[in-house]
């Protein structure tokens, strides 16, 4: 009899996120994240991003944007709450199941995270190799995406000999080359000039029309306004605004 209540609790949980989500790419249920005791980077965040949806994530510095993206691709585990990504319980995945999920997600890291010992081409090809794609096909794909980003003449350089904006574009190329189901881009245009920003945001927007769920964390209200997509605003770890898309692409 004493075991009763906890049993019920045990049963209740799965139900809470069992249904729905067929068309959702990412679902967060009451997610909190605390790195250091007493301080929350995210607090009770519940969000759902559909397949093929394009979402901006905004908010002041330290609001929790990067933390939210890290939770989605299982680089961190939530302190509380549930996260379902592409139908899988992301934080519960073991070391063997995490890589396959990550391969379906392209990430543009805020600090790029390029391998300094590999050339631009190799860095981009990494996302394909990891999947086990044959080498021959890779070269063509890598060249194509580098060309789209205006980097084809830099493909044999090493990241440390690139300008900041060039490095950022390599990071974007690596995230896009694999045609991921979800694209997470953390401040992807912070080092790019306005013209390039528009070009690259257009490229990213295109992928969403091809079915990729795109989540872009940014401070640049210029592009947020330009694309008029759904915009989630975080402040102090909480969702303070979730404005739906308001109109067609410009």
């Amino acid at each position: 009899m004493k075991l009763g209540p906890s049993r019920f609790l045990g049963r209740r949980r799965p139900r809470e996120y069992a249904g729905g989500g067929r068309k959702a790419a990412v679902q967060l249920y009451h997610v909190s994240k605390s790195y250091t005791a007493g301080h929350y980077a995210l607090r009770d965040v519940s969000l759902e991003f559909g397949r093929g949806e394009f979402v901006f994530l905004t908010g002041p510095s330290g609001a929790g944007k990067t933390s939210l993206l890290k939770l989605i691709f299982a680089a961190e585990r939530p302190s509380e709450g549930q996260i379902v990504v592409l139908g899988r319980n992301a934080p519960r995945l073991g070391p063997a199941a995490t890589p396959p999920l990550r391969r379906r997600i392209g990430v543009v890291f805020q600090d790029f995270k390029l391998l300094p010992r590999r050339t631009v081409e190799e860095n981009v090809a990494l996302a394909l190799e990891v999947v086990g794609a044959p080498r021959r096909d890779n070269r063509a794909k890598v060249f194509a995406i580098l060309k789209q980003l205006g980097l084809q003449h830099r493909r044999f350089h090493h990241p440390l000999s690139l300008s900041g904006g060039e490095q950022q574009r390599v990071a974007i190329a690596r995230a896009l080359v694999n045609e991921p189901e979800i694209l997470l881009a953390d401040e992807p245009t912070g080092n790019l000039d306005p013209e390039l920003t528009v070009e690259i945001m257009d490229l990213i927007a295109q992928t969403s029309t091809r079915g990729t769920t795109v989540i872009v964390a940014t401070h640049d209200y210029g592009i947020v306004n330009r694309y008029a997509k759904r915009c989630v605003r975080l402040e102090g770890g909480r969702v303070v605004e979730d404005a739906p898309a308001h109109g067609a692409t410009p």
Binding site: T98, I105, V107, L115, R117, V130, V131, P134, R135
Partner: protein, 301 residues
């Protein structure tokens, strides 16, 4: 199958790139492994050659059974063949009274010429009894002596046993110290090589992290690193073998005379092919182990 081969080739390429991308770190690691294996190998050679010398000394070990005065040569021969059947006896040789005197003279030097004036040879005939392999120890010696003691015609057995016992113990100790040191050295090698590889790998932990974030499986991340450790270890092993062989061929012959004295006429030998392979395997294994340890201490989901 061809896909697996392609995969392996790409892993190998990644491993070689890892080695060539930081030539200083790799060079240091390989040099350290090489030097450590040289130490281990040199010591193993020393102990192996010493073992052979000790075997030779063991061959020279024997029990002397003094025979009763006046035993006829025929009876001596009969006694000798009887002694040969005793357990632990490998060989029996008869030393006649004359031979004993000749030996004695040789031992005391020219001064022994004074013995010439003697009317009678005071030394007894004896049997020189060689010991079988398992009996070249103090206890074996005592067992063989005990069995021989009862035979009729034998007046006495060498009471030099105390000395022999001490001698055998000393040899056992030398052998023990030799192997003990070799084991310690092997453990030290293990630690040093494994740690060197670990340090070399640790300096690239950010690379491991990035690969994991991009969705690389553990095998994809780990295999090139393990291969890298293996290759570095093997390279260190090759380096060690070359160095040891160079010393063996170029330096040792200069000491030939001295070596003969120490090794007692046993020609020094180098590693056999399988022993050399073992050294290589040890290097590679250690490299692999070090890389695996480094990987384990870094791995996250």
């Amino acid at each position: 199958m061809s896909r697996a081969a392609a995969q392996l080739a790409s892993f190998l390429r990644a491993a070689l790139r890892g080695i060539t991308a930081s030539p200083l770190t790799s060079g240091i690691a390989i040099a350290t492994i090489g030097v450590t294996l040289v130490l281990l190998g040199a010591f193993a050679l020393l102990v192996a050659n010493m073992e052979r010398m000790l075997d030779d000394v063991g061959d020279a070990l024997h029990v002397t059974a003094f025979l009763e005065e006046g035993l006829a040569p025929e009876a001596q021969r009969e006694l000798a063949s009887k002694a040969a059947t005793v357990e632990g006896v490998a060989s029996v040789r008869i030393v006649s009274k004359d031979e004993a005197l000749a030996r004695f003279r040789g031992g005391v030097g020219r001064g022994a010429a004074l013995l010439e004036g003697l009317s009678e040879n005071p030394l007894p005939a004896s049997l020189e009894i060689g010991l079988a392999d398992g009996y070249r120890s103090a206890s074996g010696l005592a067992r063989v002596s005990g069995s021989l003691d009862g035979l009729p015609g034998i007046s006495d057995l060498t009471s030099g046993q105390d000395w022999v016992e001490g001698y055998l113990r000393a040899i056992a100790l030398v052998r023990g110290i030799g192997w003990g040191l070799a084991v310690i050295l092997a453990l030290a090698t293990l630690l040093i090589v494994a740690n060197t590889i670990r340090l070399a790998v640790l300096s690239r932990r950010d690379e491991l992290e990035i690969l994991a974030l991009v969705g690389a499986s553990r095998a994809y991340v780990g295999t090139p690193f393990l291969l890298e450790g293996l290759i570095q270890g093997a390279a260190g092993g090759v380096l060690a073998l070359l160095l040891l062989y160079a010393v063996f061929r170029l330096v040792l012959p200069g000491f030939e005379f001295g070596l003969e004295l120490v090794l007692g006429g046993v020609a020094p030998r180098f590693f056999t092919a399988s022993e050399a392979a073992l050294l290589l395997a040890a290097g590679s294994g250690l490299g692999l182990f070090g890389a695996a340890a480094a990987l384990a201490s870094e791995s996250r989901p």
